[in-house]
Symmetry: C2
Subunit: 322 residues, 2 copies
């Protein structure tokens, strides 16, 4: 277990960083091939571009469609990278993920199910088939820090927890941006020529919409939170908030529709003012905006009768609910 040192923003020279990481990737992979799992987030996008620079066609990028992404996300990401000259294979693994998530309500168990489905069920066979002995991964400094502090178990932190990926999964994990925090990764992404929509993309959790579903993650429940997320992101697109999200609660609440009692769903909206996700306060959204959110979500998303807005700060709250 190697000690990781942070490269602070002050010390970061994106051009030099890219050159070094490209060389390191070439050295590590040698004459072999590598794979990367592109999620469309800043971290994996930057790592994919670094890998593309270092290895060209010897890098295969996979986009794993796990069924818990936002509306239209898989297609949009694949298209964006195609425009950058990077071919991305879209792998439909929805069934595997939902099978693994079936019946699980505990957040930690969900994270574990997603991690293991990702690495073992889906990625293991893909890497084996590809013959690649190296997996590029977008772990960043904050992931390591939070996992070691016991705040949150990041899906991509393995070595730091004593998991030997070579033994466990058959390939070596390379983490070219592990010394950077999010802002540093964004700067490198910009320098690499990624589109602004990608390098400035608001944070989105590793377990994707599964992190936004309290209780069991089923296709139907993901569909509800996906529809609500689309409304929240579109209504709040023009706010300068750090991050905004919709959460589907497991708790049912009473509603009334067409004069009849309806025991329905509740969606919780969170919108954060923050610079680093370490602390955060709820954005003071104008009341007409809150009203629009509630109106649209209860009208357009089937079965939702109630909408709340989170008003607690982090700490003691966290950005995501689970």
């Amino acid at each position: 277990m190697m000690e990781i040192r942070e490269i602070t923003l002050k010390k970061l020279d994106p051009q030099a960083f890219i050159m070094v990481q490209v060389e390191c990737l070439r050295a590590a992979v040698g004459g072999g091939t590598a794979v990367v799992a592109l999620s469309g987030g800043v971290d994996s996008s930057v790592v994919t571009m670094l890998g593309h620079r270092a290895l060209g066609p010897r890098l295969t990028a996979y986009f794993i469609e796990n069924g818990i992404m936002r509306a239209g996300e898989p297609q949009a990401i694949v298209a964006a990278f195609k425009r950058l000259g990077v071919r991305v294979e879209l792998v439909d693994a929805k069934a595997q993920f939902f099978r693994a998530l079936k019946g699980i309500a505990d957040p930690e168990a969900k994270r574990n199910a997603i991690t293991h489905t990702f690495y073992k069920t889906v990625f293991g066979p893909l890497v084996k088939k590809s013959g690649a002995k190296h997996l590029l991964q977008g772990t960043i400094y904050t992931d390591v820090e939070e996992t070691l502090a016991g705040i949150k178990r990041q899906h991509n932190v393995l070595a730091q927890l004593g998991i030997d990926t070579k033994k466990a999964y058959g390939y070596q994990v390379l983490e070219p941006v592990i010394e950077l925090r999010k802002t540093g990764v964004r700067m490198v992404g910009k320098t690499l020529g990624l589109p602004r929509a990608i390098y400035q993309r608001p944070p989105f959790p590793g377990p994707a919409l599964a992190a936004r579903v309290i209780g069991e993650v089923t296709p139907a429940r993901v569909e509800i939170v996906r529809a609500a997320t689309q409304i929240v992101e579109s209504v709040l697109a023009k706010t300068r908030a750090f991050q905004c999200l919709a959460i589907l609660h497991e708790d049912r609440v009473t509603g009334i529709r067409k004069g009849k009692r309806e025991f329905g769903h509740q969606i919780e909206v969170r919108c954060w003012d923050s610079t680093d996700a370490v602390t955060g306060t709820p954005t003071r959204l104008p009341w007409p905006t809150l009203q629009t959110l509630a109106k649209r979500i209860t009208t357009e998303v089937e079965g939702v009768v109630s909408v709340t807005y989170n008003i607690a700060s982090k700490p003691p709250s966290t950005i995501e609910a689970v």
Copy 2:
């Protein structure tokens, strides 16, 4: 089953109404005695005063301490009626109610458990012991309407559902304010000389704090929502809102305290602008007030890491959550 006709505000003459109801109560009870269960709400308070006027010491008023009242409520109610010359017996039935509520998460089942504990376990024996053959009850016109429409099962609507209380529980239920809606009852209360704090009291549900606990109702969970309710009612005392409430969710959410992950409780706050509870919109509370609510609840109520504010209107939401 008698048909009930509404006395509208326009037609209501409180003095005449009181005279008529006092006469009816005297006629119905005859030379016997009656009991009333005083909850401290407007309806049962008015009925208690009507009964007191009609029957004097032949009426016994019981305050059933069911363990799901707000902080200090039982003592305050008993004291207020003592000042009006009405002796109220405080009956400690906490253990019976919590025993009946144990393990029940379904809202309808909770309501049923409370109704049956109230009428069968606690009140039946009390009435039997008292020898009274009549029970005065504060059912109002809206309760009947909502129950028959299937919107909400009110705990006190029995005859209209075909339940013969004389057969089932051994006494006859008298409902002197059943032709009135809430505003009418308040007018009668004022005319009867009740203190303003009682006749203008904001609505509070029949199942009390049990209606504010999603999932199982245990002493510990009631204690959490009771503490949150006290904060919400004190912070929002000066708003002219129709009703404000705190709800304890069953869903757990991630929080962070002293740098460590804490899987904690979430409290939902609702505050309504409404005139009749038939429709309602969330009060546009100032942000500093919302911030104070969140800060105080997460600081003062053990285990709460997250606070939301409900932003949906009724319909499709309802005033209470369950």
